[in-house]
C-alpha cells in the first residue's frame, strides 16, 4: 500500500510523458514503414507545439489550436514529401533542414507575434485541454488497490492521452488488417512490386507522410496545450522527436512494441523529474544524466544487435525510381 502511493504518481507522470513520445513514434512508424526515413519528427512536433499554443491563445479555442498545430506539422510533412518523394532528394538531409527550420521559425514567429522572448503567453483553462475524469472514478476511489489505480492512473488524463493510447490498436489494425496497411508495408519493403501491381508508390508514400504529419501535430499540441502545460516555450520538444525515433527502433517498427518502448522511455523521463522519489523507492541515488542518456544508450545497444536484431524496412531511405 505504501509502495502504491509512492509509485502511482510516478506511473501517472509516466503515462503523461509517454504520450507525445508515443504519438511521434507512431508517426515515424507510418513514414518509415512506407520507406521514408523521418528524422524531422522533432521539428514537426515543435512547429505544432508553437502553432497550437499560438492559435489556441489568440482564438481562445483549444480545438482550433489543435487543428492549426496539425496544419503546421502537415505543411512540413509536405516539404519532406516534396524533397524525398517527388524530387528524390536525401531524406535525412531534408529531416535535418526541417528540424532547424522549425526550431528557428517557431521562436522568430513567437517573438514577432507576442514579443515575450520567443514563447507564447500563458494559456488559460478554456484554451488548453483539461483532464477528463472517467465515469465512476470518484465513487470507486476508496476501493482498495483498484480504486486508486483507476482514479490516479487511468482516469484524469487529457483527451489527447487517450487518443494516443487508442492510436496503438488502430495502427496495428490499419497496418496488419487492411489493404491500405498491406500496401503501405509493401511499399517500404519492395516498391517496385507495388508498382507492378498497379498501385501508386508515390501516392502511398505521400499518404504515409501525411499520416505522420497529423500524428506529429497531435503530439506537439499535447506538449503545449494539454494540462499541466500552458503554452509554447523555446525548444520545448527537448529531443523528444529523437527519443521517439529511438523508441521506434527499440520497438523494431511494430505498434504494440512501440507502446511499451515509449512507456519505458516515458518512465525514465518521469523518474528523472523526481529524483527524491527514486531514492525513497530504490534506496540509492541515481545519476540524472544517466537517466537522460539511457534511452539513447539502450537504442544503440539494440541497434548493435546484441539484444535481438532491429531490421529496418528494406527500401527505407531510398527514393523510388520507376524506370530502372
Amino acid at each position: 500500500m505504501e509502495l502504491l502511493t509512492l509509485l502511482l504518481p510516478i506511473l501517472d507522470s509516466t503515462v503523461r510523458s509517454a504520450t507525445p513520445l508515443l504519438l511521434a513514434c507512431l508517426a515515424g512508424l507510418y513514414s518509415e514503414r512506407a520507406g521514408i526515413f523521418d528524422i524531422g519528427l522533432e521539428g514537426k512536433m515543435l512547429a505544432s507545439a508553437f502553432m497550437s499554443a499560438a492559435i489556441a491563445y489568440t482564438t481562445g479555442n483549444v480545438w482550433v489550436g489543435l487543428l492549426a498545430g496539425i496544419g503546421a506539422s502537415l505543411a512540413l510533412s509536405a516539404v519532406h514529401g516534396l524533397a524525398s518523394i517527388t524530387y528524390r532528394g536525401n531524406q535525412l538531409i531534408s529531416g535535418v533542414a526541417i528540424n532547424f527550420f522549425a526550431a528557428g521559425m517557431a521562436v522568430v514567429a513567437a517573438q514577432s507575434w507576442f514579443g515575450q522572448g520567443g514563447q507564447t503567453p500563458r494559456l488559460t483553462d478554456e484554451s488548453r485541454f483539461s483532464p477528463i475524469t472517467l465515469p465512476f472514478a470518484e465513487t470507486l476511489q476508496d476501493t482498495p488497490i483498484i480504486g486508486p489505480i483507476y482514479y490516479e492512473l487511468i482516469s484524469g488524463h487529457t483527451l489527447l492521452v487517450y487518443v494516443a493510447m487508442l492510436a496503438v490498436p488502430l495502427t496495428w489494425f490499419v497496418l496488419y488488417r487492411t489493404r491500405f496497411g498491406l500496401r503501405l508495408r509493401a511499399v517500404g519493403e519492395n516498391p517496385s512490386a507495388v508498382d507492378t501491381a498497379g498501385v501508386s508508390v508515390i501516392g502511398l508514400r505521400f499518404a504515409a507522410v501525411a499520416i505522420c504529419g497529423v500524428l506529429c501535430g497531435i503530439a506537439g499540441a499535447q506538449l503545449a496545450t494539454a494540462e499541466p502545460a500552458a503554452g509554447f516555450v523555446k525548444d520545448m520538444t527537448a529531443g523528444r522527436g529523437f527519443i521517439a525515433l529511438a523508441a521506434l527502433i527499440f520497438a523494431k517498427w511494430r505498434p504494440w512494441y512501440a507502446l511499451f518502448a515509449c512507456l519505458l522511455f516515458g518512465f525514465l523521463q518521469a523518474i528523472a523529474l523526481r529524483p527524491d522519489q527514486i531514492e525513497l523507492v530504490l534506496g540509492f541515488k541515481v545519476q540524472l544524466q544517466l537517466l537522460d542518456a539511457l534511452p539513447y544508450i539502450l537504442t544503440v545497444v539494440i541497434l548493435a544487435g546484441f539484444v535481438g536484431k532491429a531490421i529496418p524496412p528494406r527500401a527505407g531511405g531510398e527514393p523510388y525510381v520507376k524506370e530502372r
Binding site: F37, I39, V79, L82, A83, S84, T86, Y87, R88, G89, N90, Q91, L92, I93, S94, V96, A97, I98, N99, F100, F101, A103, G104, M105, V107, V108, A109, Q111, S112, G118, G239, F242, L245, A246, I249, Q287, Q289, L290, D292, A293, Y296, I297, T299, V300, L303, A304, G305, P312
Partner: protein, 367 residues
C-alpha cells in the same frame, strides 16, 4: 553525353540554390514586418565592413571549416556523419583535460598537444558508431544522433561534478593556465604589420583550419587511401571487388571525420572561451552538414561555405542587436540553405539539366 559540365554543377547550381534560400529567407524576414534589404545591409555592415566584424566572421568560419571537413570526408565514403556535434563536444573535453592537467611551457606546444588530444577524443567518439556500422550494420545516422545526446549527457555530468572547481556555481571548468592561451588574429597579423581589431575571438586556429583543408584535399585526391575512400563511396561492391576492405574504409574515414570535428575545440574551447562550458559546440557540428553540402564536399568549397556561414552567424548576431529580428533567424536561413542545396537539389537541377540539353540540341541542329 547527358552530363552537365563541371562549371554548371559546381557554380551555377549552388548559386541558384543559394538564391532560392535567400529569397525565402527574405520572405521570412518580410513576414515578420522587417525590411529584408535593410536586414541584409546590416548583416554585411556588421560582419564584413570592419576588422571587428571580420574577426567574428573568421572565428565562426574556423569552427565551420573543421566540422564541414568532417562531414565532407564522410560524404566521400557515402557515410552521413550527423554526429559532428557530439564529436566536437568530446573534442572540447579532450582539449580541456590536456590544457588543465599538463603544465605547458609555451602555447605552441600546447596547441600541438591540444590538437592531437581533441582529435583523439573526437575520433574515439566516432569510432563506436563506425564500428557498429562496419561490423553490425547499424545505421550510422541513427547511432551518431544517439551519440550526440549521450555526449551532451556525459558533459553535463562531468561539468556539474568532477571538472567543476569547488565553490563555483556555474557548470564549467576552471580557466586554462595562461601558457595555453592562443595568440589572437590581432597579434598574428600584427607581425606582418596588418592592423586588426583586438576585441575579437579569431585566433591562430584559423591557420590550422586552412592547413586542414589542404591536408584533406591532398588526402582525398592525391593518395591511395583517398582513392579507396572515393571508390568505396561510389560503389561498395566495386570497391570490395578491387580488394578494398569496407570495414577498414568505414573505420578510417569515420576516425578522420571524428578527429576533424574534435579539432574544432582548439578554436572554440582553447582559443575563445579558454575553459570548457556547457554546450560549447553551439550547433557547429550541424552547420558542418550545411557547409559540406554547399561546398560540394570539396575542401576549397568547404572553406568558402564556412566563410558564408561565418558571415551569416556574425550578421545574424548584428541583426538581433540592432533590429527586432531575433537571433534564431539565422537558424531559419541555415535550414533553408540545407533544404535547397541538399534535399531539394533535384528540384533545382532538373530544369537546368533540361535547359542545357535543349541548348546543346539546338547547337547541333544549327551546325
Amino acid at each position: 553525353m547527358n552530363r552537365l559540365p563541371r562549371w554548371i554543377d559546381l557554380i551555377i547550381i549552388p548559386a541558384i540554390s543559394l538564391l532560392l534560400a535567400m529569397l525565402f529567407s527574405g520572405l521570412a524576414i518580410w513576414s515578420i514586418g522587417e525590411d529584408p534589404f535593410n536586414a541584409f545591409k546590416i548583416m554585411i555592415d556588421g560582419s564584413l565592413r570592419s576588422t571587428y566584424g571580420w574577426g567574428y566572421t573568421l572565428y565562426y568560419a574556423t569552427n565551420f571549416i573543421f566540422t564541414g571537413l568532417a562531414v565532407s570526408i564522410a560524404f566521400h565514403a557515402r557515410l552521413f556523419n550527423i554526429g559532428g556535434e557530439g564529436q566536437a563536444v568530446l573534442g572540447g573535453l579532450g582539449v580541456a583535460l590536456i590544457c588543465l592537467y599538463i603544465p605547458w611551457p609555451h602555447w605552441t606546444l600546447a596547441l600541438v598537444g591540444a590538437s592531437i588530444c581533441g582529435a583523439l577524443f573526437g575520433a574515439a567518439w566516432a569510432a563506436i558508431p563506425a564500428f557498429l556500422q562496419a561490423k553490425r550494420g547499424s545505421h550510422i545516422v541513427i547511432t551518431t544522433i544517439m551519440f550526440n545526446f549521450i555526449a551532451a549527457a556525459l558533459l553535463n555530468f562531468l561539468l556539474i561534478g568532477l571538472l567543476k572547481p569547488a565553490k563555483v556555481m556555474e557548470p564549467a571548468t576552471a580557466k586554462f593556465p595562461e601558457a595555453t592561451n592562443l595568440p589572437n588574429l590581432h597579434e598574428v597579423l600584427g607581425l606582418f604589420g596588418i592592423p586588426f581589431s583586438k576585441a575579437t575571438p579569431a585566433n591562430i586556429s584559423l591557420f590550422v583550419a586552412i592547413a586542414a583543408c589542404i591536408v584533406i584535399w591532398v588526402l582525398i585526391w592525391h593518395t591511395r587511401l583517398g582513392y579507396a575512400i572515393r571508390s568505396f563511396g561510389q560503389s561498395e561492391s566495386a570497391a570490395k571487388y578491387a580488394g578494398i576492405s569496407s570495414t577498414k574504409i568505414i573505420m578510417i574515414t569515420m576516425l578522420i571525420s571524428g578527429a576533424l570535428a574534435g579539432m574544432m575545440a582548439i578554436n572554440n574551447v582553447m582559443g575563445e572561451a579558454e575553459r570548457l562550458v556547457l554546450n560549447a559546440a553551439e550547433g557547429a557540428g550541424f552547420i558542418g552538414i550545411a557547409v559540406a553540402l554547399m561546398g560540394r564536399s570539396h575542401p576549397f568549397g568547404v572553406f568558402l561555405a564556412a566563410l558564408l556561414f561565418g558571415f551569416l552567424y556574425q550578421g545574424g548576431a548584428e541583426l538581433a542587436f540592432s533590429t527586432s529580428i531575433p537571433r534564431e533567424m539565422v537558424v531559419v536561413i541555415q535550414s533553408l540553405v540545407i533544404l535547397f542545396t541538399g534535399a531539394l537539389d533535384g528540384m533545382v537541377r532538373a530544369p537546368i539539366e533540361r535547359l542545357y540539353l535543349a541548348m546543346q540540341k539546338q547547337k547541333t541542329v544549327a551546325e
